[in-house]
Subunit: 172 residues, 4 copies
DNA sequence: AATGAATGAGCGTTCATTCAT
DNA sequence: GATGAATGAACGCTCATTCAT
């Protein structure tokens, strides 16, 4: 792939992340092209369908999350994801399945593995109760991201809400 | 309002609840009219925009929830709402703000009051920790409904997830 | 169906016949709407897909042909169809299957029956040789319509070409 | 012209003949490039517009036909062309003018001359009636190729259809 | 000369909304 | 009040053509 194509692909992804974060997955592909400063055909050359574009954003965001998971403990990562939920509206919305046909088993799987490692560490450190399993941790994470995203929580509310969950994880 | 108009309004609301529950808020207004057995013009006469129709459904669903809240304790109500989340897809999706412009301060306020009463009772009974406030209870409720709706949780996962939250509420 | 809808449906069909006759089946549906003096949505309300519109034209043209067949002998009908081929470009082109997904077995079947009756009469009158079958008469008819349509034949050429075929039908 | 350019030109023509034979003239130029194993720019360097490419194929096919005409009598050539019509979908379709702007006076002229020679031989041999002229022979040829191409004739129908025309040519 | 990324007009289609009947 | 036909902006997507690399 040529250098300029590479650059355009990145610009389209950046624009798409911003546009879909702002307007949700129903924003038009034209708007993405406009924001990226390319013609509509260029978007479709890189991502043959809109769903492909959405899937590509998701994958990138999830990959970033996995990286960030490696540098934090479970509670810090939980907090970070919730704080970023609004900025990463697309992830939350698409995980929520807004009518799009997107399959990202791998990327989601990697995130789950990363969280699984954090959970084991937390259990080993005695800060999470033994019977807590990965499945409900993921469920809580997804839920609270959705909640934070759409609820327009301020920092206080976010902290208090997470405090309840963290208390539950410790003293299950 | 004429009797037949009254009747049509109710049929449209029923149809809309069913249609939007099945297909989400992106379902077409025509489909609602078809299911209600009225012409499209009649839908728009009763609800001048699609958002008005969605708001009306929401209001009705929230009112039902308030009634149900009066007959349960906090944990039971929490569990009920999560269990119904999928069936009432519309509530969750619209609370999630899928691109629609909907404001329902009153109906949401009533629900909040009802949950507030449950919270006080729970605190009085000593099954919820003193510092837990209504705001985070509502936040958790909304979040977990979203999560349950879009996550396709089975009963076990739902129970385990709620168990974490309930533990947190008790031993905050 | 309302009177105005009926009228619009007819106008759309007329416009479509003219437009597709002039530009072939690849002409845009917008152009049909423009020529009919209606908005694009109206065309799609009456004919949910472009193929439906093309099929409707075909059906109407074939029906007209069947009527005309009833009032002529085989040679006259043959001549008439060839003479009209250019004006009815769409029939010829679509019978030629220009990539469209159109099925009109009934209408085509009726035409075939009508030609079959003409053939029997012609055989009875002794102006067509006994072994000539309907299949090849239809094949010749379709072929020469195509030829006349695309070849831009003048009247003389048309007459001389048909003369060969008619001679062949008589003295097979 | 460089040797590799020469080679590319031939490969593009071969690919185009195959692609357009399979999908008709509406097949995309990209598909031709793909099949030829060259980039799309190379196709447009050799043939500045799609129509130029189609014209080039036509010319080549017509040239082949002229050669084949030299080795057969009128009836055999007629039969051959009809039999090949489907395989050479492009010729028939483009002669049919599927919206393309193509002019090939020379190549068509050469074919016409070749057929003219066959006609003279046939007349001299007494197997074609004296008044039959070249114009209607060409018209019949073009027509029946079209018919065979789009009608999906089996061998029997093709034989019977041609039999009528041949009878007409002999006993005009 | 070849590449292939970029362009952008154009297409078929949908659907919230309006308004004549 | 009810009907449902009409509207037209907007969308996802295609593809002939251009041009920087």
């Amino acid at each position: 792939m040529r250098a300029d194509a590479q650059r355009n692909r990145a610009r389209i992804l950046d624009a798409a992340e911003a546009v879909f974060a702002e307007f949700g997955p129903r924003a038009s592909t034209e708007e993405v092209a406009r924001r990226a400063g390319v013609a509509i055909g260029t978007v479709f050359r890189h991502f043959p369908t809109k769903d492909d574009l959405l899937a590509a954003i998701m994958k990138r965001l999830l990959t970033q999350l996995v990286e960030e998971a490696g540098q934090r403990d479970l509670f810090a990562f939980f907090t970070l994801m919730v704080a970023q939920a609004a900025a990463k509206k697309t992830v939350a919305d698409l995980l929520a399945g807004s009518g799009m046909n997107i399959r990202l088993p791998d990327a989601v799987g990697h995130l789950e593995e990363a969280v699984g490692r954090l959970l084991e560490q937390a259990r080993a450190a005695g800060v999470v109760a033994a019977p807590v399993r990965l499945a409900e941790v993921m469920a809580l994470l997804a839920s609270v991201c959705q909640g934070a995203l759409h609820g327009g929580w301020d920092e206080q509310l976010q902290a208090r809400t997470l405090a309840v969950i963290f208390a539950g994880l410790k003293r299950y």
